[in-house]
C-alpha cells in the first residue's frame, strides 16, 4: 500500500517537474469525483475521456510587471500567455504517454458550439480551482493565486491515476485593501475601473465575497473581438453606402481581425485587463514579479538542495550509528 502511494507520488512529482521545467508556475491535480459531480452534463471529464483517472491543471504566469504599466492597447496584445500554457499541457500529454504508457489528452480550451456562445467544452477554471491552484475572484471569476496572481490555465486528462489535491484553503480575493475600499465606496477596484461596468457584487461581514455579478456579454463586447466577426459581416450587408461597407470590412480595427485570422493566431485577439491592472493580488503577489519569481525559484532550489544534503547527512549518521 505504502509502495503504491509512493509510486503515485512519484508519478505526480515527475509530471510536476516536467511542467515546471517547461515554464509553468503552478501544478495541481483535481479530484475527479468532485469534477464529475460539479460540472454540468456534457462537460464532465468523462464526457471527453471516458476512462479518465486524473485531471491535471497547470498555471502559467500572466503579464510581466512592465506590461501592467503599458497602455491598454499594448497590454491587450502582450498580456496573455495562454498559448504557452497550452503548449506545456500538450507536451505533458505526450510526456505521460511516452514515459508512463497511459493515455492522455490535452484538454481543448475551446467553446462548445452545441451548448452556447460562452459555454466551454470543459471548464479549465473549474479544474484549476478544484486542483487548488486558483480561487474565484470578484473580477468575473478570474482565478487568482496568492503567490502567482493571475495565471493562464491548461488541463490534461489522463488514464494514469495520481493522488488529487484539495482546493485552496483560503481565497486571496477580496484583498484587505479591496474590502476597505468596498466599505468606503461600495465598490472594489475591479468593479470601479471596469470600462464597461460589467462587475458588481457585495462583500459580507466575514470580508468574503457574498455575491459576484458578472455581465459576461458586456465584457465580451469590450474584450473579445472574435465576437465582432459576425457583426462585421452583418454590418457589411446592412451598410448604407460603399464607404460604410468598405469600413466594415477594411476599417483598421477590423483589418486586425482578418490579419489575426489569416495568420492563424488562434487566440483571443484583445483583452482588456483593467480589472487585473488594479487588482492588488495580481500586482503584489510575491511570485507575480518575474524577478522575484526567479529569485524565489532559486531560493527553493537552494532549500531543496540543503534539505537533500541534510537528509543525506542524517542517513550517513544513521549508517554510522548502525
Amino acid at each position: 500500500m505504502a509502495n503504491e502511494k509512493s509510486n503515485l507520488e512519484g508519478l505526480r512529482k515527475a509530471c510536476e517537474a516536467y511542467v515546471k521545467k517547461k515554464g509553468a508556475l503552478a501544478f495541481g491535480l483535481a479530484n475527479i469525483e468532485t469534477l464529475e459531480r460539479t460540472a454540468p452534463e456534457g462537460s464532465r471529464p468523462s464526457d471527453m475521456l471516458p476512462k479518465v483517472k486524473s485531471v491535471i491543471s497547470i498555471g502559467v504566469g500572466g503579464g510581466t510587471r512592465g506590461s501592467w504599466s503599458a497602455d491598454a492597447k499594448t497590454l491587450a496584445y502582450i498580456g496573455d500567455t495562454e498559448t504557452m500554457a497550452y503548449r506545456i499541457a500538450y507536451g505533458l500529454a505526450f510526456y505521460i504517454e511516452a514515459k508512463f504508457g497511459y493515455r492522455a489528452i490535452f484538454v481543448p480550451p475551446d467553446m462548445d458550439p452545441e451548448k452556447g456562445a460562452r459555454v466551454p467544452m470543459q471548464s479549465l477554471k473549474l479544474h484549476a480551482e478544484v486542483a487548488g491552484i486558483g480561487a474565484r475572484s470578484m473580477a468575473g471569476d478570474i482565478l487568482l493565486h496568492p503567490e502567482y496572481g493571475m495565471m493562464y490555465y491548461a488541463s490534461v486528462f489522463t488514464e494514469m491515476k495520481m493522488p488529487p489535491d484539495q482546493p485552496m484553503a483560503d481565497n486571496p480575493c477580496p484583498h484587505p485593501s479591496c474590502v476597505q475600499l468596498y466599505r468606503k465606496s461600495g465598490q472594489t477596484p475591479c468593479m470601479r475601473f471596469c470600462p464597461v461596468e460589467c462587475l458588481s457584487g457585495s462583500i459580507g461581514d466575514d470580508d468574503q465575497v457574498e455575491e459576484m455579478h458578472y455581465d459576461a456579454h458586456a465584457c465580451a463586447e469590450m474584450s473579445q473581438q472574435y465576437e465582432a466577426i459576425p457583426s462585421i459581416l452583418l454590418d457589411t450587408l446592412d451598410a448604407k453606402d460603399p464607404i460604410e461597407r468598405g469600413m466594415a470590412l477594411h476599417g483598421p480595427e477590423n483589418q486586425v481581425i482578418w490579419y489575426k485570422l489569416s495568420v492563424g493566431a488562434g487566440e483571443l485577439l484583445s483583452l482588456c485587463y483593467e480589472c487585473m491592472r488594479v487588482c492588488p493580488i495580481t500586482q503584489t503577489a510575491p511570485m507575480a514579479n518575474p524577478v522575484a519569481r526567479g529569485a524565489g525559484m532559486r531560493q527553493k532550489i537552494v532549500e531543496a538542495e540543503a534539505a537533500a544534503r541534510t537528509e543525506h547527512a542524517i542517513e550517513q549518521d544513521s549508517h554510522k550509528e548502525n
Binding site: T34, R37, T38, P40, G42, S43, S69, A70, D71, A72, K73, T74, L75, A76, D112, E114, K115, G116, A117, R118, V119, L126, E129, V130, A135, R136, G140, D141, P167, M168, N171, F193, C194, P195, V196, Q208, V209, E210, E211, M212, H213, Y214, D215, A216, H217, E221, M222, S223, Q225, E227, A228, P230, S231, L234, D235, E253, S270, C272, E274, R277
Partner: protein, 651 residues
C-alpha cells in the same frame, strides 16, 4: 427561419434566453472551492445554463434556443467597444465622462453630408497644394486661438462701441459656441447669417465654425423670395439675423420660413430681448471653454457663399479652410501685413471680398476695424478716428468719397495701403483716390484685386510691385494660383496681351457648386481650370486686366446678380410682351441695370410701374432696373433668344 424559429418566437423568448444563458452570471459565496455541493446546485441556474438546459426550462428545441439567443445577443451587442481600450492604461483610468464612442462623437447629419459630398478636388492638384504648403491643417478659430494665446492683449476688433482684444474676442466666441452647441447644432450644420459688419457678425462667424458648423451669408438687401431660396437650398438649421432691418421685418419673415421648412430649427435675433418665437443672441451665451468632441480640420467646409450665377437661381459655393484661410495666410506677406496693422473693409462680410480681407488681417494678427453700414462719411470718419493702415474697398466706395470731398476733409495719414476690388476699376477713380490719399500719407500705395466667390482672392497687385500697375491691372496670380487666357473659339491657351476667356486654377479655387451638376459640368476643364466667364488680358509679366464678361451677370457696385429671374417677373406683367435686362455703365457703381421691353398692343409701362411690380414681389432693391427703354422689336436669334449685345449697343 432556421428550425422553425419565427420573429415572434425571438420576441417572446429572447430576453429570457439572454438572461438564462451565460451572459449574466451570478455567484453566491465560494461553493466550488468549499466543495459545498448543495450550494453549487442552488446557484447553478444563476451562473448560466447551456442551450440544452435552457431548452428544457422554457420548452424549445436546443437548436431553437441557439437561434433565439444569437438574434437576441445581436440586439444587445454594442460595436466598437474595444475602442475604449485606446483610452485606458499607462496611468489612465476609466471615467464615464471620458469616453464617447466615435460612432456617436463623429456623427454627421445627412444634411451636413450634403455639403461634404460637394467637396471634391482633383487628387493631383490636392497633392501639389499640400506638398507646396498652400494647404495646411489650419482653421479660422485656430488663428484666433493662436493670437489669443501669444498676444492676448493685442487688439483684434475695433467697432463703433469699443475695442476687443484677441483674448476677449476668444472668450466671447466661446460663450456663443457653448450656446449654439447647447441648442443642438453640430459639426457640418449650416447656420445662415444676415447681419451687417458688426461685432455680432464676427462672434457668430467664429462661434459657428468653432464647433465645425458652416456659415452661410445672406446679403443685407435680400428679402423674402431670395432668402427662401437660399435657406431651402442650403438646408440651413439656424439663422442669425437682426430683429428688423430698415423696412424689413426680418424676424417675422424668418419665422414664416421656419414654419414651412423641414430643416430650419432656430431663428436667433440680435439683442437681449427677442421677438416671440426667436432666440435672443445674448441669452444663448454660456461662460466657459466649449468641449468640442469633433473639432473642425483644415479640409472641412466652413463657408457656404452664393453667387448670383448665370442661371435663374444663385449657385452655392462651399469653401474649405484650406481654400479660404490658406488664400488669406499666403496673402499676408504679399501685403506686408503685420500685427501692427489696423485694417478696414468697406465691403460687407456677406461677400467674398469682405471676408477675404477679414481673414488676411486675422492671419496677420492685426486688428480688424468694423464699419457696420457703409456711407461715405462714415468710412472717412472711421479711417480717420481709428487710424486705419490698410483699406480694402471698391471703386464705388472711393468714387462716392471723392465726389463728397471727403478725401480732402479728413486725416488719412495713417493709410499705407489701399486695395480695390468688387467691380471693374476705372483708372480715373483709382488715380484720383491715390493722389488725394498721397496728400496725407506720402508713399501710400494702391492695388487691385480680382476674385470671384469661386476663386477667392485669385490675383492682386503686390505692395512692392510697379507703382502704376494698379491703375490698369489686378496684378499677378495670388500665391498658390495660376491664371491663363484661352481662346473662346477653340479653348487653346493664347499668348500674352491677347484678349480671351480667363481661366483660374489653384489652391483657393472652390471644389464645385453645391447640388448643381449642370453648372459643375461646365465650370471646369478636365485638368481643373475654372472657367471664369470673364474676358481678360494677361501681359508678359503675368499681370491680369479684366476687359469684359461673357456672362450676363450685372455687377452693380460689385454686387452681382443675374437678371433672369427679374426678367421673368417683368414679363409676367399683363402689359409686357418681352423683357431683357442689360448692364449700363455708371461712373460710380460701375454698372446699373437697364431694362428693355416690348409692349403688348396699345399698352403702356413706366419705370415706376416696373419698380412697384418688383417691390410687390419682394425683390431686393439693388436688382431693380434703373432705366427703362421701350422698343418695338427685340433683336432675336433664329432660336428666338434675345441678343443682349445688340441691346447694349443701343445704350
Amino acid at each position: 427561419m432556421a428550425y422553425g424559429v419565427t420573429q415572434q418566437m425571438i420576441d417572446t423568448f429572447g430576453e429570457i434566453v439572454f438572461k438564462l444563458s451565460l451572459n449574466k452570471q451570478i455567484r453566491r459565496g465560494d461553493p466550488v472551492r468549499k466543495l459545498d455541493f448543495s450550494a453549487i446546485e442552488a446557484t447553478r441556474e444563476e451562473s448560466g445554463l447551456t442551450d440544452k438546459e435552457i431548452a428544457e426550462r422554457i420548452g424549445l428545441l436546443p437548436e431553437q434556443v441557439s437561434v433565439v439567443r444569437v438574434f437576441t445577443e445581436r440586439k444587445h451587442h454594442k460595436i466598437d467597444q474595444h475602442r475604449r481600450l485606446y483610452h485606458l492604461g499607462g496611468g489612465k483610468r476609466w471615467k464615464k465622462e471620458a469616453y464617447r464612442s466615435p460612432a456617436e462623437r463623429l456623427q454627421f447629419r445627412e444634411d451636413a453630408m450634403m455639403i461634404r459630398k460637394a467637396i471634391k478636388f482633383l487628387p493631383e492638384l490636392a497633392a501639389r497644394y499640400i506638398e507646396k504648403g498652400y494647404w495646411i491643417n489650419e482653421t479660422l478659430n485656430g488663428h484666433l486661438i493662436n493670437y489669443a494665446h501669444i498676444t492676448p492683449d493685442a487688439l483684434a476688433i475695433i467697432h463703433p462701441e469699443g475695442e476687443l482684444s484677441y483674448k476677449h474676442l476668444k472668450d466671447s466666441v466661446d460663450e456663443l459656441t457653448n450656446g449654439l452647441m447647447k441648442i443642438g447644432l453640430t459639426k457640418g450644420d449650416v447656420v445662415a447669417v444676415q447681419l451687417p459688419n458688426t461685432l455680432e457678425f464676427i462672434i457668430s462667424y467664429f462661434a459657428i465654425t468653432a464647433f465645425g458648423g458652416v456659415m452661410q451669408t445672406i446679403h443685407m438687401p435680400y428679402r423674402d423670395a431670395d432668402i427662401k431660396f437660399l435657406l431651402t437650398h442650403s438646408k440651413a438649421r439656424a439663422v442669425i439675423c437682426l430683429p428688423a432691418f430698415k423696412d424689413f421685418n426680418t424676424a417675422k419673415v424668418m419665422l414664416s420660413l421656419k414654419e414651412k421648412s423641414d430643416t430650419l430649427d432656430h431663428i436667433i435675433t440680435i439683442g437681449e430681448v427677442s421677438p416671440k418665437g426667436t432666440k435672443a443672441f445674448e441669452s444663448l451665451k454660456i461662460t466657459g471653454t466649449p468641449k468640442i468632441d469633433n473639432p473642425p480640420v483644415g479640409s472641412d467646409p466652413f463657408l457656404l457663399l452664393y453667387t448670383s450665377g448665370t442661371t435663374s437661381n444663385p449657385k452655392g459655393v462651399p469653401l474649405t479652410y484650406q481654400n479660404m484661410i490658406g488664400n488669406a495666410r499666403l496673402s499676408v506677406p504679399e501685403f506686408h501685413m503685420t500685427p501692427a496693422d489696423r485694417n478696414i473693409s468697406a465691403a460687407p462680410f456677406s461677400h467674398l471680398y469682405g471676408l477675404y480681407n477679414f481673414h488676411v488681417a486675422l492671419c496677420a494678427g492685426a486688428a480688424n476695424i468694423l464699419l457696420p453700414v457703409f456711407t461715405p462719411p462714415d468710412l472717412a470718419k472711421t479711417i480717420e478716428k481709428t487710424k486705419a493702415t490698410t483699406v480694402f474697398l471698391g471703386p464705388p466706395h472711393a468714387a462716392s468719397m471723392i465726389n463728397a470731398g471727403l478725401l480732402d476733409n479728413h486725416d488719412f495719414s495713417s493709410v499705407r495701403f489701399s486695395m480695390f476690388s468688387g467691380s471693374t476699376c476705372p483708372p480715373s477713380i483709382l488715380k484720383t483716390y491715390r493722389d488725394k490719399i498721397s496728400n496725407h500719407s506720402d508713399g501710400t500705395r494702391i492695388g487691385q484685386l480680382w476674385g470671384m466667390t469661386e476663386t477667392a482672392g485669385a490675383t492682386f497687385c503686390r505692395d512692392d510691385g510697379p507703382k502704376d500697375l494698379a491703375l490698369k491691372s489686378a496684378g499677378p496670380a495670388a500665391p498658390g494660383n495660376e491664371i491663363r487666357i484661352v481662346s473662346a473659339e477653340n479653348d487653346e491657351v493664347i499668348s500674352a496681351n491677347t484678349e480671351g476667356e480667363l481661366q483660374v486654377r489653384g489652391s483657393s479655387v472652390f471644389p464645385g457648386y453645391l447640388n448643381n451638376s449642370e453648372a459643375n459640368a461646365d465650370a471646369f476643364t478636365v485638368d481643373g481650370w475654372f472657367k471664369t466667364g470673364d474676358i481678360a488680358i494677361i501681359d508678359e509679366f503675368g499681370n491680369l486686366t479684366i476687359t469684359g464678361r461673357t456672362k450676363d451677370v450685372i455687377s452693380r457696385g460689385g454686387v452681382k446678380f443675374n437678371p433672369a429671374d427679374i426678367e421673368d417677373l417683368i414679363v409676367s406683367h399683363p402689359n409686357v410682351e418681352q423683357a431683357a435686362i442689360v448692364p449700363m455703365p455708371d461712373p460710380i457703381l460701375g454698372e446699373k441695370a437697364c431694362c428693355f421691353i416690348t409692349l403688348i398692343d396699345n399698352m403702356t409701362m413706366t419705370l415706376e410701374d416696373l419698380c412697384n411690380l418688383l417691390d410687390s414681389k419682394k425683390i431686393a432693391k439693388n436688382k431693380w432696373p434703373e432705366r427703362l427703354v421701350i422698343i418695338d422689336e427685340m433683336p432675336l436669334t433664329p432660336t428666338r433668344k434675345i441678343i443682349k449685345s445688340k441691346l447694349i449697343e443701343k445704350l
